[in-house]
Symmetry: D2
Subunit: 339 residues, 4 copies
Amino acid sequence: MAKKVKIGLIGAGRIGRLHGDNIANAVPGAVVEAVADPFLNDATIAWANEMGCTKCYKDAEAIFADPEIDAVFICSSTDTHADYMIAAAKAGKHVFCEKPIDLNLDKIRLAMKACEDAKVKLQVGFVRRFDKNHKAVRDAVASDMMGRPHIVKVTSRDPEEPPMEYVKVSGGMFTDMLVHDFDMARYLSGSEITEVSAYGTVCINEGFKEYDDVDTAIVMLKFESGAIGVIDGSRAARYGYDQRVEVHCAKGCVQDDNVLNSSIKISTVDGVQVEKPNWFFLQRYNDAFIAEVIEFVDCIQNDKEPSVSGIDGLMSVAIAMAAKKSLKEGRAVQISEVL
Amino acid sequence: MAKKVKIGLIGAGRIGRLHGDNIANAVPGAVVEAVADPFLNDATIAWANEMGCTKCYKDAEAIFADPEIDAVFICSSTDTHADYMIAAAKAGKHVFCEKPIDLNLDKIRLAMKACEDAKVKLQVGFVRRFDKNHKAVRDAVASDMMGRPHIVKVTSRDPEEPPMEYVKVSGGMFTDMLVHDFDMARYLSGSEITEVSAYGTVCINEGFKEYDDVDTAIVMLKFESGAIGVIDGSRAARYGYDQRVEVHCAKGCVQDDNVLNSSIKISTVDGVQVEKPNWFFLQRYNDAFIAEVIEFVDCIQNDKEPSVSGIDGLMSVAIAMAAKKSLKEGRAVQISEVL
Amino acid sequence: MAKKVKIGLIGAGRIGRLHGDNIANAVPGAVVEAVADPFLNDATIAWANEMGCTKCYKDAEAIFADPEIDAVFICSSTDTHADYMIAAAKAGKHVFCEKPIDLNLDKIRLAMKACEDAKVKLQVGFVRRFDKNHKAVRDAVASDMMGRPHIVKVTSRDPEEPPMEYVKVSGGMFTDMLVHDFDMARYLSGSEITEVSAYGTVCINEGFKEYDDVDTAIVMLKFESGAIGVIDGSRAARYGYDQRVEVHCAKGCVQDDNVLNSSIKISTVDGVQVEKPNWFFLQRYNDAFIAEVIEFVDCIQNDKEPSVSGIDGLMSVAIAMAAKKSLKEGRAVQISEVL
Amino acid sequence: MAKKVKIGLIGAGRIGRLHGDNIANAVPGAVVEAVADPFLNDATIAWANEMGCTKCYKDAEAIFADPEIDAVFICSSTDTHADYMIAAAKAGKHVFCEKPIDLNLDKIRLAMKACEDAKVKLQVGFVRRFDKNHKAVRDAVASDMMGRPHIVKVTSRDPEEPPMEYVKVSGGMFTDMLVHDFDMARYLSGSEITEVSAYGTVCINEGFKEYDDVDTAIVMLKFESGAIGVIDGSRAARYGYDQRVEVHCAKGCVQDDNVLNSSIKISTVDGVQVEKPNWFFLQRYNDAFIAEVIEFVDCIQNDKEPSVSGIDGLMSVAIAMAAKKSLKEGRAVQISEVL
C-alpha cells in the first residue's frame, strides 16, 4: 500500500472540520498531521486529538515549516486562500483549496503560478463534480450515446436564506453561491462559457437590497461549442436543497433529480406524500466531500493531475464577476471582458 | 338543457378537422353546422357529412351569411385570421380563433375591437391552459398555499424539427412555437411580462440559418410582479414532446412532468426502462383540445367571458416579437418597445 | 365504412348507462338502437332519447324480437345474465355480457353453449384487459425480452367499502371484486390457474362478518406453467383506486403503477406532495371501457373472435369459488375441484 | 465521551470483514481489539493490522479469555453461532450474532438463556431494520397517522442465484434468504406471525431440485393482530437487489422503493432509461450495517436493550421452518407447531 499522505489542515471552521473528519474516518490513504487555526481553542484541540492529531497551531507557518507534511487543505477565510497557496507551494506542499480561490483574478493567477512553478498538485473544492448523480449525467453526456449538448440547465436553490451578517460579507449571490453552478455548467457541457446574461431580483428578504445583492437569479450562458444554457438560483427553496441538472443533446436529454431523504411514499385520503430532498449540502454532498479528498490523495500518491484544477477555480470566479456585471449594466457580458 | 351552439368551421386542415371531430364526438353542447374551406374537395365533404354536417362551402362568406350559425372556428392560415374575425364579428357570430391571431399587432387590435364592438365572445386557441397538469400547477400557484411566484420555468421541446418548407413560412421559432410558452408563462405567473432577453442557436439543422431562424433557444423573462422566468425551447427533443412547467414560489415549488404513454416499468440486467412522453401535441393535448371547446360553448350558452381572450393573443405575439428583436440586437428588450 | 352495429342495451343502471354513453359518443361503429330496463322511467327515456334512441322497453323480449338489432349488451343484475344470453343467442344477436356471467358454473356453460351453437360473438366485460398500462405489461411479458413468468402479482384495492346492503347481495369479495383480478392474473401470465390458497380477514367494517364475507384478502395462485402468483385485495384503500400489476420473469420484472390525477408535484417545508391515483374504476378505466366496446364492434363487423371470451368468464368465476372454498376450509383448493 | 467498546471479532469471512471495516472506519465508539478465525492466514493478519488490531488468533477461546474485550461479533459459520454465544456469555462478553443464530430452535433458546443469565447484551444481525427506507415505513406505520395495519407486503429478490455448492449447504431458501423477510414482516407490522402458507417452485435453475430446495417462493402470513401479509421471493431478479416493503393500513398505504444507483434519467428516441437498483446487500445495506453496530455499541455504553434481540432471531427461524413445512405438506402451518 502507498505511503499515507500527511495533511496539514488550515482553518478549523465548519468546512475544515468536515474535511478533517472525512480524512480521519473515511480516507484510508491520508491522516491529519497538523491543524492550524487563528482562533485555536480547547475545543479545536480536543477535536484534533480525537482524530489522533497532536500538532495544533494558531499560525499556519508551522504547517509550511513541517517537513513531515505532504499537503495542505486551505479551509480558512477566502481572503487568505491565495497567500496560503503561495506559501504552501513554496514549501513544496500539495494544495487542496476551498472555493473560491479569491475574488481577484490576478491573485488567483499568481497563486496558480506558484503551484505550477513548485510542481505541486492543486485541487479546488468544487465538490459537486464528485456527486454520483451529476457525475452520471456528465458521463452520459461525454459518451457517444447522446451527441453534442444543445442546452445545459442547472437548478440551484439553498433551503433557507443566510443571516444578513453573512450576506453582508458574502460577495454577493453570484460569487458566493452560483460560482458552484458556473463550474457545474462548464463541467457538464465540457465547453468553456463565453458570455452571460443575468436577471436578478429580491423576492425573499428586502435586506438583500441593502447590500446591493439579490436573492433570486437566472443566468443565461453561451458556450464556445455553440450550446446555450441557463442557471436558476434561489436563496430559499424552503423544501430543502434543490440541486438538479439537465443537458439536452442532439440525441435526447440527460437529467438527474434531487436525492430524497428516503424512498418512502405515504398515500392517504389527504394526498400522496413523498420525502423531501436532502436538507442542505452537508447531507446531499456528504459522499462527494469524501470522494474529492480520495481523488486528491490518489493524485499525490500516484502522480496524477486532479480533475478539478486551478483554471476551474479561475474561470468560475470570472463568470460570476461577468454575471454580476451583466446584472448591474443590464446587458450581455463577454467573459473576455473580465478576464 | 341549453340550446346547442351551431358552429361554422372555417378551414378544414389538420387543426380544423381536429376541432370538428371534437365538436361532433365530444362536445355535447355544440354541432358543426357548416364547413368552409377554399380547397374544398370530396374528402372534406365526406368528412363533414360523417359528422352530420351538410353545408359545405369554398367561401367563408356563406358561413357569415347563415343566420343559423352562432359561432365560428377560425382554423385557416394565419394571414386570414384577422379579416375573418372582423367579418364574423360584424355578422354577430362568436369567434374562436386559432393562435396566433396575426403577426401584426395593429391587425390584432383591429380584430379584437371588432369583436368588442359587436359584443361577441372571443376565445384564442391557447390550448395548453386547458391541460389538466399545467392547470393544476396554476391552481396551486394561485392558491394561498404557495405564496407569490419568484421563478417561472417552462420547458418546451417538439419531438422533431419540421420540414424546411414549413420553417420557411413559419415566421420563426419565437412566433411559431414559443408563442405558446410566452402565454404559458403569463398564465402560470398571473402577471404581465415586461422584458425579455433571448439566446438562440442553430444546433439541429443548418437549414434554419438560411431562413434567419434558430432551432434552440432560451428566453429570460421579467414580470411586472417582480418575478423572473425562463423558457428553454428546442425543435427536436427526439424522445417525444417535452412540456414541463415549474413555478418556484415564496413557500416552495410547484411543477408538473410530462405525460407518459403508460405507467409501465421494465427492469432487466440491461437497465430500467420507463415509457417515453406522449409523442406530440395531438397526443398530449388531446383532452385539452376538447376542454377548450367545452369552455367556449359554455361561455356562449351562459354568457360568460372566455378565460383566454384577445389580449392573451395580442400579448403573446408581442412577447415573441420582442424576443426576436432581443436575439437580433443582442440586448434585453422591453415589451413596451414593440407594443 | 362498415355498416353501423345496432345495439340493444339490457339494463340501464350505472354500467348500462356507461356503455350507452360510450357507444353514443365514442364508438363510431355502433349506435344504441333500443334500451330495455324493468324499471324503465321518464329519466331513462330522456337519457335514451338524448342518445338518439327512441325504442325504450320494460321487457328485454322486445329487443330479442327486433330484427334491426345486431347485438345486445347485458348489463342487468347478475342472476339474469345467463338467461338473457341464451335468449339473445337464440335470436341470433351477438352478446356482450357484463361480468360475472353467473355464479353457477353450469349456467355459465349452458349460456356459452347457446352462443356457440348460434355462432354469435360472445365477449365478457373484463374491462381491465383494455387498460393501456396493464396491456403494456402483458405485451412485454408476451414478448421475447422477458423470458417466462415466475411470479405474477396483482394489487387491487377499492377506494371505499360499499354499503352493507350491497355487501349483503354481492356474493362476497372473491366473486364480486377479485373475479377481475383472477382474470388479470390469467391474462398477464398467459397460463391457466390450477390451485389457490386464500387468506381473508375483516379489518375495515365488522359488518362484513354478518354476511360471512371478508374485506381484506390475499390469494396465492399456482399456474399450469409452473409460475406462482399472489393477489392482495382490500375494500378500502382510502387514497383512491389501487390497481397495480407486476410480473417477475426469467430476465427481469415488468410492472405498472397507478394512474394519477395529474403529474403535479408540490414541495414545501411541510413535505412533497404528488397526486392521488384516480378515484375509482369509472376514472381509471374510462378509456378501457371504450376500447372494449370498440373491439366488440370490430369483431362483429370483421368476423373476428373477441379476445375476452366465455371461457374467461367461466374460469374467473371458478377461481373465485375455489378461493372462497379455500378460505372457508383453510386449505389449498384445486380449481378442478369446483369445475 | 464514553469509553471505547473493545470488540473481538469471530470469523473473518465476508461478513466478518465487513463488520471489522465498519468498526474501524465508521463507528467512533468501538475498536476491533482481536480477530479469531480458524483459517487465519497472512492476508487476514495484514487486514487486522491495517485496522490497528494486533491480536490475531485461530481459536476463539483466546477472545473469550481476554479481559480487555467487552463484546464479540459472531460472524463464523451458522453451526458454531450458538456455542460461541454461550461461551461469550459465560465470559461476560456482550454478543452481536449474525443471523440465523442456529437452525435448531432449542439451541437458540439455550444460547439466548446463556446471554440472559449472564446479563450481557444480545443483538442479532437483522440489518434491514436499520435501512432508513424500511425504518421510515415502520415509523409511519407505528405513528398515529395510518391506523392499524391490514396487509403487510415484502418483496425480496436477490440479483443472481448463488452457486450450487452454496445452495447445497444453505438450509434452503426459507431459512437462508427469507428469514430476513419474516423478521421484516414482524418488524413492519409490530405483531407476531401465527400462521404461514407457502408456495414454492423451481423456475431459475433445475439444480435447486436436487437439494430439495426452491428458487421462487410466495408465503402468506397471518398476524396475531388480525392483519395478513405476503412475501414474494426470488433467487434471481437479474436487475439488482429488489427490496421493497408496503403496509396497507386503515387510513392508507405506506411503501418504500428500491434505492437506485443514481437519480439519472436518459431520454432518447429508443426510450427512457433510469438507473437500476443497487446491485446487492453490500451496496443497499451499507449504511444499515454501520447503523446496527452503532446501536449495539450505544446499548453497551449506555446500558440499553438492543432493538433486535434474541427472540427476533428465534421467531424468524421458527417461521422459516414453518414455511418449509407448509411447502412440503401443502397446507397452512401454525407457528406454534414448530415452536
